[in-house]
C-alpha cells in the first residue's frame, strides 16, 4: 500500500498554493483521490488508507470542489459507489450549527 506516497504528493502539490486557489486545490484533491483509488486493492487492510478516504471528501467540500471545474482540464477520477449512510452517520458527519468558523494557532518561539 503506497498511501503515504499519495499523501506526500498531495502535500507537495499544495505546498505552494495560495488560499484562494480553490480550483488548484480541487485539482490536487482529484489527483489525490485518483492516487488513493489506484492503490485501493492493496490497501484494504490499511487504516491510513481508510482514514484518507474519509478525509478527501471533507477537503473537497471545504474547497467547494463539486462546483469547481478542473483548473487544468485534467483531474479525472474514478467514481466509486457510495453506500447510503445511516441516520446516525448522517447526524455525526457534520455539525449543524451556524457556519462561521474561528481559528487559533500557536507556533514559533
Amino acid at each position: 500500500c503506497k498511501i503515504l506516497k499519495c499523501s506526500k504528493e498531495y502535500a507537495d502539490n499544495t505546498d505552494h498554493l495560495s488560499p484562494t486557489s480553490d480550483a488548484e486545490y480541487c485539482d490536487a484533491l482529484r489527483l489525490y483521490r485518483s492516487c488513493v483509488d489506484a492503490t485501493a486493492r492493496t490497501c484494504r487492510g490499511d487504516l491510513h488508507y481508510h482514514t484518507t478516504v474519509t478525509l478527501i471528501p471533507d477537503l473537497m467540500q471545504t474547497y467547494n470542489c463539486s462546483n469547481t471545474p478542473p483548473a487544468h482540464g485534467g483531474g479525472s477520477h474514478h467514481s466509486r459507489p457510495t453506500p447510503k449512510p445511516s441516520e446516525v452517520e448522517t447526524r455525526c458527519s457534520s455539525h449543524h450549527g451556524p457556519r462561521t468558523f474561528k481559528h487559533c494557532g500557536l507556533f514559533g518561539d
Binding site: E89, H95, G97, F101, L106
Partner: protein, 241 residues
C-alpha cells in the same frame, strides 16, 4: 511562542510550562513550552495534548498526545477513528511531521506539525462552539496570554542592530529579515519569523512561520486578508531589502 487567538488577536508570550489553549465542553488542548536560549524568556512548544470529549452518539472520548520527536498517527489508545461513519478520525499527512484530527460531528479540524525541534498547532472550530463567555480559566486561544506573560517584541524588532552585541542576539536583524523575506511570510508571521531568528538563530523557525500561515489560510480559505502588521514596526532594513 506566537499565538493567534480565536478573535484574531496576535500575541507573543512566555508561557513556560503547561498551559491550556482550549477547554470547553467539546475539546481540551494543552501545550507545554520550554525555554530555548539562556538570557531570553522565549519558549517553544515541545508537548501537546488534545482531548476530544465524548459525544453520546458520535464519538468516544479520545486522547491525543504529541511531543517533539514523537508525532503519533493514532490516539493514545492506538485507534485511528471513532464513531459511526468515522465521525472522528486522525490522519497522518507526513509521518512524524504533520498530523490532522478531523472531528466531523463538531466540524472541527486540528493540525499538529513538528517543524524543526518544536510543535505547531492550528485549529478551525465553529464560532458557536467556541465559548468566549467563560470568565474563569486561562484558555489562551480564547483569552490570549495573561498580561505578565506577554512579550512586546516591537521593541526588539525596532531596536537598532548594534544592540545585538549586548543583548545576546544570535542572528543579525538584517540576516533574519532577509531569510524571512525569502520564506514569503507576511504580516504577523513575518514579525514572528524575524523575532524567532533573532532570538535563536534557528532557521527552522522560518518554516514554522510559513507553515502556520499556510495552516491559517487553508483552514479559513475564505477569511479576509489580515492587516499588514509589519508596517507597524519601523524595520528600516526591510525597506532597503
Amino acid at each position: 511562542p506566537h499565538l493567534r487567538t480565536f478573535d484574531d488577536v496576535f500575541e507573543t508570550c512566555k508561557v513556560a510550562g503547561a498551559w491550556p489553549l482550549i477547554d470547553n465542553r467539546h475539546l481540551a488542548v494543552q501545550v507545554t513550552n520550554v525555554p530555548l536560549v539562556d538570557g531570553s524568556s522565549a519558549t517553544a512548544t515541545d508537548q501537546l495534548t488534545v482531548i476530544i470529549k465524548g459525544h453520546s452518539e458520535c464519538s468516544e472520548q479520545k486522547l491525543y498526545q504529541a511531543q517533539t520527536g514523537n508525532l503519533p498517527a493514532s490516539f493514545v489508545d492506538g485507534t485511528y477513528s471513532s464513531g459511526p461513519g468515522r465521525s472522528l478520525v486522525i490522519v497522518e499527512i507526513l509521518p512524524g511531521k504533520h498530523v490532522e484530527i478531523h472531528a466531523k460531528f463538531i466540524a472541527t479540524t486540528i493540525v499538529v506539525r513538528q517543524v524543526g525541534s518544536y510543535l505547531t498547532f492550528a485549529i478551525r472550530m465553529p464560532g458557536d462552539l467556541v465559548d468566549t463567555g467563560v470568565k474563569d480559566g486561562l484558555e489562551l486561544c480564547v483569552k490570549g496570554c495573561p498580561h505578565q506573560e506577554k512579550i512586546d517584541f516591537n521593541e526588539l524588532l525596532s531596536s537598532p542592530n548594534q544592540i545585538k552585541d549586548t543583548s545576546g542576539l544570535v542572528m543579525s536583524k538584517e540576516t533574519a529579515i532577509a531569510k524571512c523575506l525569502e520564506a514569503n511570510v507576511t504580516d504577523f508571521y513575518f514579525d514572528s519569523c524575524v523575532f524567532d531568528l533573532i532570538t535563536t538563530g534557528d532557521v527552522n523557525f522560518t518554516m514554522a512561520a510559513k507553515k502556520a500561515l499556510k495552516d491559517y489560510q487553508e483552514l479559513l480559505p475564505n477569511a479576509n486578508v489580515h492587516r499588514n502588521r509589519t508596517t507597524d514596526v519601523p524595520l528600516q532594513n526591510k525597506t532597503s531589502l
